[in-house]
Symmetry: C2
């Protein structure tokens, strides 16, 4: 067994590439850094860092150990945050983090002393960060119900068809659902929010044209639609700005418009009131239309 502090020293070394620099960062004396690393290397029975006069570097073993080390200190950090009640790290998939969540975060900042941090990534990556204790709460449009987590449907976002301004459908107040069948839709890559939506609501029959992902697939899809490459289906919130500005035309779908569940997911923590739980409750109460966990 080992002191976590030594692991932190290793991380400082890995990040700074030098014992003296690592000593400065950790506030330790430089010989102590030597000692910490030596202990760690002894405990693992392996050389982690290639000592070199001009910049020390990680050995292959050191590189292999790195994610484990990061996990160790981060887990401890997040465990402390459970009780110090002043910090929440939120993870959100791109569409939600970019468009939907921002006003809620602003409001939460006003009513709470919690220090908020938002991490945006794709769905599987966010799920991974949740598992690895990198984030305390996740807000996503997708969740496989794994054990150990509490998932709640936060709200249901309406989906709208977006078309360029010169499209025959432009200006329509609504379109029948059956018109969607057989249409070519942009942005259907697997793994992206848009891709999953298309898959789910149109099934295999709707052939989709791929659009290479830029920074956040919805941005790419919007640009492609604007350029006249085709049409697509997105969350209404994601298109609000362009719709108001008249850059794109967003059309609701008639007869039972498709809605996408948005989940709030946090680690189960029994009856203890964690900051993550407070934040979750805040989100749920901001919205009257909330439903219980599945």
């Amino acid at each position: 067994m080992i002191h976590l502090e030594r692991v932190a020293t290793f991380l400082a070394l890995a990040a700074s590439g030098g014992f003296r620099e690592a000593a400065k960062r950790t506030g330790l004396s430089q010989p102590t850094v030597t000692q910490h690393l030596k202990w760690l290397e002894q405990a693992l029975n392996v050389t982690l860092i290639d000592r070199n006069n001009a910049g020390s570097t990680l050995t292959p073993e050191g590189r292999a150990f790195l994610p484990y080390a990061e996990n160790l200190v981060r887990t401890y950090d997040r465990a402390r945050a459970l009780f110090e009640k002043n910090s929440i790290v939120i993870g959100a998939s791109s569409n939600i983090g970019i468009y939907l969540l921002q006003p809620y975060l602003k409001r939460y900042k006003e009513v709470s002393a919690h220090k908020l941090e938002l991490i945006i990534d794709d769905n599987p990556a966010i799920a991974g960060k949740l598992e690895r204790f990198e984030i305390d709460v996740a807000i996503m449009e997708w969740w496989d119900h794994r054990p150990g987590f509490a998932a709640t449907v936060w709200l249901q976002e309406e989906l709208v068809v977006i078309v360029p301004n010169d499209h025959p459908w432009a200006g329509m107040r609504g379109i029948p659902r059956k018109w969607l069948k057989g249409q070519d839709f942009l942005g259907g890559e697997a793994g992206t929010g848009t891709g999953r939506l298309l898959q789910e609501f149109l099934g295999k029959d709707a052939d989709t044209i791929g659009v290479s992902m830029q920074f956040g697939s919805t941005e790419a899809v919007k640009n492609a639609v604007r350029a006249g490459l085709g049409i697509s289906l997105v969350m209404a919130t994601a298109i609000e700005h362009e719709s108001r500005n008249g850059e794109l035309c967003a059309i609701p779908i008639e007869e039972m418009p498709p809605r996408k569940d948005i989940y709030v997911i946090r680690r189960e923590c029994g009856t203890h009131k964690t900051p993550a739980l407070e934040f979750t409750n805040f989100l749920l109460h901001q919205n009257s239309q909330h439903f219980s966990a599945v």
Copy 2:
């Protein structure tokens, strides 16, 4: 920062429900256990355990901390296994772990000194365990390509239709693919291997009847088919035994039979030769038909 040993002591306490018992398990003296816990509680500034004359129990805070504590000691344990080269923990989704993997594990035991441990669970749970450093390698029929992991297609399993012995199709050497459309298939719950298969190869149009999951959905599906409730689609390996015994009838599909990719997934570890990498290479070389990572 904290000694990991103290966290381990907390886990022993949580598991045993008493300071004396925890002392026995950890090999420490009983007052030392008291001290370890006190330090940990001081570091987190919270009470973790309700001291009680008749069995000490976790406080709500203790219960919340428990998964973090488990993650800490397990991560350290797996990090050590990276270098001690004698232990591999393998995770597999149910079908693969139960049917497909066993002969390979037996062969690997004969050629390697590694101590093997196999954990079987559903796909999302295995993915979670991989993220949390609970397992070193995962073998699954599904993978979203998340960063930090190396996924390789190990083999491609053929899918066969299974029908009861008194079914009109029974005894056929093969059936055309188009016959499958419109059939009712058993075992299509979301999240299970069978469910995903049906979804993928038949799409939304094939209405599926749910079968409640028993221990491992394929077992349940086989029983249901045997009982005459319907037919289903499973990996050929999963049905080999019953097919030979004449308990069920397995029929290949003509014209491009559907095949399911099986992935081997491990944490990326640079150039260091981990036990997990050795095992992965063993699996891949056991099979000539292997393909490169996606």
